[in-house]
Amino acid sequence: MPPFENLPTDLVLQGIFLLVAGLIVVAAVAVVTLRNIFHSALALILCFSAVAGLYILLEAPFVAAVQVLIYVGAISVLILFAVMLTERVMDPKMGARNEQWWLGLLLTAIAATGLGAIVGFAPWPLSKAPIINDQITALGKEFLTTYVLPFEVASLLLLMALLGAIIIAREKEGG
């Protein structure tokens, strides 16, 4: 008999959620506080992966796959490259925080209080409707019917970002 068979499903799901959430928060704190920016980037990868786990818990497998492919696969690698290309990683002169970090902390506290109040007091109209079946087929259909204009604009945006990144980062030799 498997060891967890007698546990109620809700409790197991909540336990998994707490584990993943703890991982996310610890990794995120490491991202913003570690002195070595390279270590921050590694913690960021951990944080992105944990968020993908959260999407699976929320029964959104497509978004979880996109999260792994784009955040863990592409954005993290880009950030690691940028860190290695720009930073003297072990430079002890460069502290982690700027001179106004306490002001940032104050502002963060205010924003977090406001958001927390909204989360606590707003009445959310919860729905008991069953989850849509065959999500990925439905997503593909939505992207090419209802959301076809944003979809095409997103392609244009990616093209622009590609060209812009090349032009901005290129060595200025002839112009």
């Binding site: 913003v32 930073e87 502002l107 939505e142």
Partner: protein, 104 residues
Amino acid sequence: MSGVPLSWYLTLATVLFAIGLYGTLSRKNAVGILMGIELMLNAVNINLIAFWRFITPHLLTGQIFAVFVITVAASEVAIGLALILAIYRQKKTIDIEEIDLLKG
């Protein structure tokens, strides 16, 4: 229905957003600031997916929004890092306290 209540997800997203905001405001390294922005975008995406799951599970709007947010985040990182590389090439630093070309 999922065993985890909606408020748990919203609380987690709030905490993650606050951490990202603090990172954005307090980091000295320009790449660190970008990392803070990415954390905030992730918090927003958690909210979008949680609202989709708990409030409109019969539609797909929340997931579609999340995918668009990820797309925009990817282009934003590409442009941001290109800018940081260009600044580094010119100023030999990405410490934002030393990048003050616009200071009067």
